[in-house]
Amino acid sequence: MTSEPVVLVRNVAARYGIREVFRSVDFELHAGRALGVLGPSGAGKTTLLRMLVGLIRPADGEILVDGMAPRRAVTCVPVGYFGGEATLPGAVRAARWGTLGTGSAVMAERRRIRTLARGTRQVLGLRTVLGRQQLRLVVLDEAWEGLDPDASRWLSATIETKRDRGAAVVLSSHRLHDLAGVCDSYLFLVNHGATLLHAQEISPVGTVTAATLTSVFDRLRGGAACFRAVS
């Protein structure tokens, strides 16, 4: 890959106060490629994604989007970011929120956002962001959360379309089977560090599946997490 990367992350660390979230995160992401970010709760997936769009600055290291600091890049480069349905303001009417992306409504629903079903809120947020044209960078946090099978298929197809049209895509999800079909490389955030693996490294023959991702994930963190059943 000889072209300039859309996203360049060098030795990035994140801290909240004295609590270290992660350190030494390095990766490049080129146009037309998709990166999946995986990790247990609290590993810093959301923090990393918010850093990519300039909402948070790294404690250490450097992030460049099209050669610019993210906070500047979002004013020059079309960037689509959605942090999940919980980030939508509940008092706003769904139809009005849906006009913010392109000017035309993405949903006819007139009720307030907080009265909608979780999956409908998620679709509203996704369609508002993804409806914007010619996005250079798409960053979606837990994008499949709450979606029904139809909406999940729509989202996967939309992400692939954006990627094929040249957008760089960064996704995080706990649902490994959703990421498995879409991404070209995977960033595992475990034990305050990061490991980047390309799809061919995870599965040299055939496609990456949720099972292979799970096995890599467990290996990186030193075994599967055990939760005792509660009766």
């Binding site: 923090t47 918010r50 909402l55 906070r71 004013t75 970011y81 942090g83 919980a86 980030t87 913010l100």
Partner: protein
């Protein structure tokens, strides 16, 4: 590039609750009706509007941002400073509109005589309240700046009533008078600013301008981590 326009964003995502907007309209209506029924209230008509603006302009930025409500705006192509200025404008707009309507009602009812509601002192008080309440609340939850300011005013009234009597331009040094206008801008309402008061009023307005500049800088630089992530 298809940007998310900041003013349009804040028209959709209202910074004021419906209850606050209703309260502002009610305060304005009472002031306007009072003006029509009793011309003697002219000098006091704007006081409840200024008081209401103290709370209405205290919209707060940080809490909404940390809940992710502003993500679309902050990543949608608009420079942060423009988003911050739009936030300021939309925060103070309803209170300023109500004040102007009350002033228009007064002007219509008393053609030929100077307006007390829109007099220099009232305008200075409205500017002070709008700017300081907004700026003080930016890093805090909605209403907090206005509530804190009201507590300071009430405390000053109780502890130092003689200080609050320093009105009319001849009662104190510019610094003391300027501090008085910041603590209790209501003393300016309903009258013109006298030449002797001008340095103190300008000093108070300069402080308000500095507070707004600091708040704009805070918004421009702030890291917006989600509450749940921290």
């Amino acid at each position: 590039m298809n940007r998310i326009a900041a003013l349009r964003f804040f028209l959709v995502v209202s910074l004021h609750s419906r209850l606050m907007l209703v309260a502002l309209v009610a305060v304005g209506a009472v002031a306007a009706i009072g003006l029509l029924l009793d011309p003697m209230v002219r000098e006091r008509a704007a006081t409840p509007v200024v008081f209401a603006q103290m709370l209405a302009a205290s919209t707060g930025f940080a809490v909404r941002a940390r809940r992710g409500h502003l993500d679309l705006l902050l990543t949608g192509g608009q420079p942060r400073v423009e988003a911050a200025v739009a936030h300021l404008a939309m925060s103070i707009a309803p209170g300023v509109a109500v004040w102007l309507v009350v002033g228009a009602v007064e002007a219509a009812g008393h053609i030929g005589s100077p307006s007390a509601t829109l007099a220099g002192g009232s305008a200075a008080a409205m500017l002070l309240v709008s700017a300081l309440a907004w700026a003080a609340t930016v890093p805090f939850p909605p209403l907090s700046g206005g509530i804190a300011w009201i507590l300071v005013t009430v405390t000053a009234t109780a502890v130092a009533p003689a200080w609050l009597d320093l009105t009319g331009g001849s009662g104190g040094a510019p610094f003391s008078s300027g501090a008085l206008y910041v603590v209790c801008p209501f003393v300016l309402v309903g009258r013109p600013v006298l030449p002797a008061e001008l340095p103190a009023v300008l000093g108070a307005l300069a402080l308000a301008a500095a507070a707004v500049a600091a708040a704009l800088a805070w918004i421009t630089r702030a890291d917006v981590a989600l509450e749940a992530s921290q």
